[in-house]
């Protein structure tokens, strides 16, 4: 089959690899009909996530058709159309039984690496470094799905692929980020970063009853999509003093909750932002936590900082004194995917949201290497790329 393989920093290529096989009784094989590039894939592309190996197949947002099931998978049959959640969970450990799916005890074959770095191991993830299991990802024509009796959700034929694909990650991730804000009537939520997760966080915050959402970014087309999602927008290229501007926009109170949808590769203009970049270049740090600092500083007293953006290692110059002094609540982590699949599918079916609004680029898997670059550099008004693994290269087809 064809698969997108990581070969080093800023170096991905489509290679011919073996088809996946059933390896365990609870596995299934999915023939992928649509897959996507996630913002967090860019951290891998840029080489900031440790323990990736050359030859690893990337991708954790995918859906398709079941073509084979292991002997213990009784709830799926060949031909079922499914969306696969990006976190892998066994369904029977303490964490799964308590709906903390992304913290599953039993799905990471390389748990020892994560234990050395984090004390304990979170769940395995598709295509996201060997510390997180080393599972082959879904930017490919087929994928093996472990614990398939627990994860994949069947989707009705009335919905198109591009309407349900984002149940695999970014819609639930944006939704959980908003849910973590424990929104109450009158709440103002600030969303830092209007990439796909930020856009879903904005719409989810409104679904959960936020009075106002303030969206912060500097890319015009992303701010435009945020505006279309009914957020008030703020371009930080106009004024870098985000904390003061947010105060001005909220009658001096500050936002009730701040959502950091940026994570480890934040951009900024000030001294600390340059300091972060220098440290990252020198491999002294994985993370540039500019946005996290701003969110802590800007959040109102007693407010919540919700962090769906990915961080990897030891963060520097975090104003923890401010967090303590203001009595902030922090909520973070990989999305507990399995809890959100059914409820969010229902919202899509009922027409409350059509997740395909984020898509700007529909390409073939062969286009993926150039699409990574376009998406990373935010060229060509790129917000979200979906890839059809069976379509032939558009550029090649045109020439």
């Amino acid at each position: 089959m064809k698969a997108l393989c990581w070969q080093g920093k800023e170096n991905v290529r489509v290679e011919k690899v073996d088809d996946p096989q059933i390896l365990n009784p609870r596995d299934a094989i999915v023939k992928i009909t649509l897959t996507a590039i996630c913002g967090s894939d860019l951290h891998l592309y840029d080489g900031y996530i440790p323990t990736l190996e050359p030859g690893d197949i990337l991708g954790h947002e995918f859906m398709g058709e079941i073509v084979e099931t292991g002997q213990e998978v009784n709830n799926l049959k060949v031909g079922d159309r499914v969306v696969v959640p990006f976190t892998i969970a066994c369904g029977h450990c303490y964490f799964c039984e308590n709906q903390l799916w992304s913290l599953c005890d039993n799905s990471n074959p390389n748990a020892w690496i994560a234990e050395k770095m984090y004390g304990f191991s979170p769940s395995g993830l598709f295509g996201y470094s060997h510390m997180m299991g080393g599972y082959a990802g879904g930017q490919a024509q087929y994928a093996r799905v472990p614990f398939a009796d627990i994860g994949p959700i069947k989707v009705p034929d009335t919905l198109r692929d591009d309407q349900v694909l984002f149940l695999s990650d970014i819609f639930p991730t944006g939704y959980m980020a908003a849910e973590n804000c424990t929104i109450r009537p009158g709440y103002v939520v600030a969303v830092f970063g209007c990439g796909p997760v930020g856009l879903f966080a904005i719409r989810s915050a409104f679904m959960l009853g936020a009075d106002r959402v303030i969206a912060i970014d500097r890319i015009p087309e992303r701010l435009q999509k945020a505006r279309e999602s009914k957020a008030d927008i703020f371009n930080y290229d106009d004024d870098d003093d985000v904390v003061e501007v947010l105060k001005q926009m909220t009658g001096g109170r500050g936002p009730d909750a701040c959502i950091d949808c940026v994570g480890m590769e934040a951009h900024g203009h000030d001294f600390l932002a340059r300091y972060d970049s220098a440290k990252q270049t020198l491999k002294l740090s994985f993370d540039r936590p500019k946005v996290l600092r701003q969110a802590i500083q800007a959040c109102r007293k007693g407010g919540t900082v919700s962090i769906p953006g990915v961080y990897g290692g030891l963060l520097d110059k975090i104003p923890f004194g401010a967090a303590f002094g203001k009595g902030l609540t922090f909520k973070m982590g990989q999305t507990h995917m399995h809890s959100y699949l059914q409820p969010l599918l229902r919202r899509i079916e009922q027409g409350e949201i059509d997740p395909s609004f984020v898509i700007t680029h529909r390409l073939s898997l062969d286009d993926a290497p150039s699409a990574y670059r376009t998406f990373r550099d935010k060229r060509d008004q790129c917000v979200k790329v979906v890839l059809d693994p069976w379509k032939t290269n558009q550029v090649a087809a045109q020439s």
Binding site: Q7, H92, Y94, P109
Partner: protein, 257 residues
């Protein structure tokens, strides 16, 4: 001590070993050696050189002296199953290759002893049960080639139906030098890591019904860097062994959910 404390105290057998002499001996070698080397190097005259050489020899002795020390390891894991289920799974020798890291298959077994092969047929081992208290404690001894280790599991209920706490004690009697200890720790080839991985596999089997794996999945070309990283992350080892990695455990919890 609670009423559930085992009658033959494994803890006591750990503490009964007197390691004082060997430790003091080694420390004496090290101090004498270091003093000799430093003083000799400072003098660098007719008396200095022999002192330096002698000190070096003492340092060497301190480093390579094989100490018949007993390396005691304690590990713990909570498994979301009852103590009786865990005990009966562990007590059945036929299940050992499913979760004991490096064990391939059981050759022969009676009720108290078992002979097995491991590491792709390259090692033979045998084990014997020393003590059993169903649902509470199992203690055994294993001989692998020239090494010998003693092990015990103690089972206690975890609070508010969170399953069972397994306390895994290992007593490694393999004589080790400082150098071999450092090497084994650096390469992860330690008794402690063996115990940790075995306990983890048991938990995975008992809770999820299988041990998660990526061995045998597709990948692009690895290149030299990728191959080295795989070795460092200890991946791909199982690919050749094709060890059984799943089992059907009669499991009410799995069936109910």
């Amino acid at each position: 001590m609670s009423a559930r404390t085992p009658s033959i105290d494994f803890e006591q057998s750990l503490d009964s070993v007197d390691q004082t002499t060997s430790t003091v001996g080694r420390a004496a070698y090290a101090i004498a050696g270091l003093s000799g080397v430093l003083y000799g190097a400072w003098r660098r005259d007719r008396l200095g050189w022999p002192l330096l050489l002698g000190g070096g020899y003492f340092l060497y002795r301190a480093a390579v002296q094989k100490i018949p020390q007993e390396n005691s390891i304690r590990l713990a894991q909570t498994v979301n199953r009852s103590a009786d289920e865990i005990y009966s799974f562990w007590r059945d020798f036929q299940n050992w290759p499913l979760f004991m890291d490096g064990m391939d298959r059981v050759q022969s077994a009676d009720s108290m002893t078992v002979a097995w092969t491991g590491e792709n047929g390259s090692i033979d081992g045998e084990s014997a049960i020393l003590e059993e208290q169903p649902g509470q404690l199992l203690r055994w001894i294993s001989r692998v080639e020239n090494d010998e280790y003693e092990a015990a599991i103690e089972l206690r209920p975890a609070p508010s139906n969170r399953g069972t706490e397994i306390y895994f004690h290992l007593l490694d009697r393999k004589p080790q030098t400082v150098v071999s200890q450092i090497l084994r720790r650096a390469t992860g080839d330690s008794m402690e890591q063996w115990g940790r991985e075995s306990l983890r596999a048991l938990k995975q089997l008992m809770e999820a019904g299988e041990v998660p794996t990526t061995d045998g999945q597709p990948h692009g070309s690895r290149g030299a860097k990728g191959k080295i990283e795989r070795a460092v992350f200890r991946e791909g080892v199982e690919e050749k062994k094709r060890r059984p990695r799943a089992t059907r455990i009669p499991n009410q919890k799995l069936a109910a959910s």
